[in-house]
């Protein structure tokens, strides 16, 4: 008999015997085998102790995995019997189901139990109500709706006309439908959408997946889950929802109400564009660059392109007025009749021209250089004119005329350079060869500028300023700072425009220093700008706003949350919610404050529309966009919704690595957040590696005693602890605490954090006395600083109470 069988037999025998007789029984049965007796006795003792968590089930008393299997054969929802799962959305499941009364088949939409709420049930029933008001051959009908109990949970269902077919894109691809056939489908879909609009409801999520094509090639519009009744006329839709790829710019931007009908029309245009070209419109890529499918390449040019672009107009007011008009236009084109859609607007054409002619824009480097030379040249002319004025006092009149001419010429040249600089920035794409040439030219120009021109400071200043700003676009922040500092040195005087320019220069320098990672120097410059604004009422409101936002960004880095909160409230009170990069930057700061407050959901709600707007208005690589990607990704990560978290943080990491470099403090911040994401996902080993990278990077870039470096070291130690590597974690945490005591002010909250974490580790290692001392030291630091109801205090007190 094996040892195991022996133990088992004796254990069972002992249990069967009366408790009083067990000792004797075991002594006899084991003979002299004391190990065996001890083993069995300890097992019996363990058996006898009171009830334990093992007796229940991990998922509660009601859960039986076998019943799940048995019942999954027969999923009954009211009078319907589910046959197969055909759709799987975030909040609902769609089954092919049989109506047990008629024997017919339906598409049964059922709320996911996990997404079940009174609101969700109401929404589903509202969808049924909406659908009942619609009657169109290209809209799947609603047959029935109601409440039902499924496996004990109250839920709601919707029985819809079952469409046996495939989604629009699959249909067009698999049947290799011609342009004509594809457009005929879209005519029917547009007419169906128009029917819904006329009956007072917008679909709000038109996309190829929501258009099924049946066996006879007839399209059917499905899924009115996002549909809402239109109220009086315009501004009816709520901005949430929709699929970005097919959503109108105003819907993606979010925030403000918009015309839901016009938004549906845009989606029809986007679907049509994709059918014809195989690519989504407006996605990063300019429309002109999208590669049309070979078969329709020629057809999409000309009038058809005009029709589709009219539906895709960014400005809803200029957009194709309604879905019926779009259908009519497509039919006109199909019939070979002249279409009515106007040519695209001038601004749009200009943008498209610039995108389509990147090579030419690349050649712009030469133009810019010539212009800069022009500015310098005209400056010499100006200088000479001034000299002439002084020398030839008797010919004053003539000299004044020359001076005026020279000033005008200089003004034109400076303005031209600024204009082209802006245009270039708008259309430049840093990854391209052209851009590299421009960058090289700018660097060369920076070196080649003539030495300070006596009496021509203004010009020199303008040149340094333009050059500096242009260089920042290429990530050459050191050269930027150098150029801007030279401009600042030339910016004297107390006239209003001179003061304004000084303030702007200071803020530009601060921005470049921040991007360089030199936060302290940046804050100093911002404070200087703030002093100018405080002293001189003439400093303009936009500059004041910029200064305030810059200050808020800089302060949040230093963890001065209260100060930032007050500042943000003040900015909102003074400047409101004007659109633009500053407001988006502020939204990012507000998001971070909310995250720090633990109000993650609100942070997500606030930053989501801001990110959409930033992507659209500023582009994917703008620092504000990257900041929002980082903060929103971090918020999702904390909300434990890992898919969006991963997507956003990966985008932020990639973008920051490209734009700022992998050693930049902001890049390291994102790396740090990415490590936290991995930890939350339970991917601890990966998290450890990333966290170590972040900690080491920060130690090198920011210094080993920088507060952010300390936080990374803290997380690294936590990672070690989570992996059970206690001795290493202990060394790390003790070192960290020692560093914090050198590096941080006496009452800095991080000191309390490290005390607490050290205490938790000691607690876990069984060093209870030392753990207690550290918990108490933490409380001593935190109690005077936090509100009495701050959860951090409750946390430490709770941990303390767990100590024996």
């Amino acid at each position: 008999m094996s040892r195991q069988s022996q133990i088992r037999a004796l254990f069972l025998e002992a249990l069967a015997a009366p408790a009083a007789a067990r000792e004797e029984l075991l002594r006899r049965a084991c003979g002299g085998d004391e190990d065996l007796r001890a083993e069995v006795e300890s097992l019996v003792a363990s058996h006898e102790a009171q009830e334990c968590f093992l007796d229940g089930g991990a998922l509660g008393a009601d859960f039986r995995v076998s019943e799940a299997l048995a019942r999954s054969d027969e999923l009954r929802i009211g009078p319907y019997l589910a046959l197969a799962l055909i759709g799987d959305g975030a909040s609902s499941l769609v089954y092919r189901a049989r109506d047990t009364r008629s024997g017919g088949e339906v598409a049964l939409k059922l709320l996911r139990p996990g997404a079940l709420s009174a609101q969700a049930v109401d929404d589903l029933l509202a969808e049924a109500e909406l659908l009942r008001g619609l009657e169109h051959p290209a809209i799947a009908r609603c047959l029935d709706a109601g409440r039902a109990s499924v496996h004990g949970a109250q839920t709601a269902y919707l029985a819809l006309e079952l469409v046996r077919g495939t989604t629009l894109n699959v249909y067009v691809r698999s049947t290799e439908a011609s342009t004509r056939q594809a457009l005929e489908l879209m005519v029917a879909v547009a007419r169906a959408a128009h029917h819904a609009h006329e009956r007072g409801c917008a679909h709000n999520d038109l996309k190829p997946d929501n258009i099924l094509v049946d066996g006879q090639g007839r399209p059917k519009l499905i899924d009115f889950g996002a549909a809402r009744p239109l109220r009086s006329g315009a501004d009816s839709a709520r901005p949430a929802g929709g699929t970005p790829r097919y959503s109108s710019p105003e819907r993606r931007r979010g925030g403000a109400p918009f015309d839901a009908v016009a938004s549906d029309v845009y989606s029809l245009g986007a679907i049509t564009w994709e059918l014809l070209t195989g690519e989504a419109p407006g996605e990063e890529r300019a429309a002109d660059e999208a590669r049309p499918r070979a078969a329709v390449a020629t057809e999409l040019r000309g009038e058809l392109e005009r029709v589709v672009r009219h539906a895709l107009e960014r400005d809803p007011a200029r957009r194709c007025p309604n879905a019926a008009f779009f259908a009519d236009e497509l039919e006109r084109w199909l019939a070979g009749v002249a279409v009515l859609s106007p040519r695209p607007s001038a601004a749009r054409r200009l943008a498209e021209f610039a995108r389509a002619n990147r090579a030419l824009v690349g050649g712009f480097a030469a133009t810019l250089l010539a212009l800069l030379a022009g500015v310098a040249g005209t400056s010499w002319a100006l200088q000479r004119a001034r000299e002439a004025r002084d020398a030839e006092r008797e010919q004053r009149e003539l000299a004044e005329v020359r001076l005026e001419q020279a000033q005008a010429a200089r003004e034109r040249a400076v303005q031209g350079a600024h204009f082209l600089g802006q245009l270039f920035r708008q259309f430049s794409d840093r990854s391209r060869d052209g851009a590299e040439k421009v960058e090289a030219a700018l660097v060369e120009a920076a070196g080649a500028l003539p030495p300070a021109l006596e009496g021509a400071d203004e010009v020199q200043l303008a040149l340094h300023h333009s050059l500096g700003v242009a260089l920042a676009d290429f990530g050459r922040y050191e050269l930027t700072v150098e150029q801007l500092e030279r401009a600042l040195a030339l910016a004297g005087g107390e006239r209003e425009e001179q003061l304004e320019r000084r303030a702007i220069l200071l803020l530009d320098i601060a921005a470049a220093q921040t991007l360089r990672g030199d936060q302290l120097a940046a804050l100093e410059r911002i404070d200087q700008a703030q002093r100018l604004a405080d002293l001189h009422a003439s400093i303009s409101a936009p500059t004041r706003l910029r200064c305030a936002v810059a200050r808020a960004s800089a302060l949040i880095e230093r963890g001065s949350a209260e100060e930032v909160r007050a500042l943000v409230a003040e900015i909102r009170a003074q400047h409101g919610y004007a659109p633009g990069p500053l407001s988006l930057s502020l939204a990012s700061i507000e998001g971070r404050l909310l995250i720090d407050d633990g109000r993650v959901q609100e942070a997500i709600e606030g930053m989501t529309p801001a990110l959409a707007a930033a992507r659209e208005q500023l582009g994917e690589r703008h620092d504000v966009t990257l900041g929002l990607l980082n903060n929103l990704g971090s918020a999702w990560s904390q909300a434990e919704d890992f898919a969006p978290a991963e997507e956003l943080l990966a985008a932020a990491l990639e973008g920051r690595t490209k734009v700022l470099g992998e050693r930049h403090p902001e890049t390291l911040q994102t790396l740090h957040n990415f490590a936290s994401l991995r930890r939350r996902q339970g991917r601890l080993e990966e998290a450890l590696v990333l966290q170590e990278q972040a900690a080491r990077g920060r130690a090198e870039v920011l210094g080993p005693l920088h507060p952010r470096t300390l936080l990374s070291r803290n997380n690294y130690a936590s990672q070690l602890q989570a992996l059970g590597r206690f001795p290493e974690a202990l060394v790390e945490l003790r070192g960290l605490l020692a560093s914090a005591e050198v590096a941080l002010p006496e009452r800095h909250w991080q000191r309390g954090l490290y005390r607490r974490n050290l205490a938790v580790l000691l607690h876990e290692m069984g060093e209870h006395a030392e753990a207690r001392a550290n918990y108490e030291a933490c409380l001593e630091l935190w109690v005077p600083q936090f509100r009495p109801d701050d959860p951090r205090l409750a946390d430490v007190r709770h941990l303390l109470s767990l100590l024996p």
Partner: protein
């Protein structure tokens, strides 16, 4: 018939149930707790989908599903513990972890789950049948008669196995030094 963790089927079931767990947590973002009822309920639907892939030995699927549920719950518990232990930048994780503690579900304590998981791994080396029994009973919610059918032993054997496994696990878990 011990479940093959690396089989494609297992991977599929696991993904299904994990997705469900994530969704049921997403519905309860503020509390970050798994809603066992929602998880259990959705498991029905997920398993229905797995079964659509083709005929399967029913007992095999039961075992796979129980194992998948174990893994999901343990991973979730591990993640929660990691947050409870460590604290991240700007007090972020600290706040978040508090949500966990303030609203932790009454039944499954993450420390207990993680400890059970480790102990079960060890038990599997000592006696694989007992380990499977615990998995089926605790994570799959199965009655002893059902387990007897799956394991091809008598119900009495399952009763005896359970008494021994339970005693062994308790000693193992409660003997481990952990604060609590």
């Amino acid at each position: 018939m011990p479940p093959q963790e690396h089989s494609e089927l297992y991977a599929q079931i696991y993904e299904e149930i994990r997705a469900i767990a994530r969704r049921s947590m997403a519905g309860e973002r503020r509390s970050h707790t798994l809603q066992p009822t929602a998880l259990a309920h959705e498991a029905f639907l997920a398993l229905a989908r797995v079964r659509e892939q083709g005929p399967l030995e029913p007992t095999h699927v039961v075992a796979l599903a129980a194992r998948a549920i174990r893994r999901i719950l343990v991973n979730h518990a591990n993640a929660r513990l990691a947050r409870r232990r460590g604290s991240g930048a700007r007090g972020e994780t600290l706040n978040e972890e508090l949500h966990d503690q303030l609203s932790a579900p009454r039944g499954a304590d993450p420390l207990e789950l993680v400890a059970l998981n480790e102990a079960l791994d060890e038990l599997e080396r000592v006696d694989a049948r007992q380990a499977q029994l615990v998995e089926l009973r605790f994570f799959g919610g199965l009655a002893h008669e059902e387990i007897a059918r799956i394991q091809g032993v008598s119900a009495r054997t399952v009763d005896a196995d359970w008494a021994l496994a339970r005693a062994w696990l308790r000693r193992r878990i409660e003997g481990a030094s952990r604060p609590r």
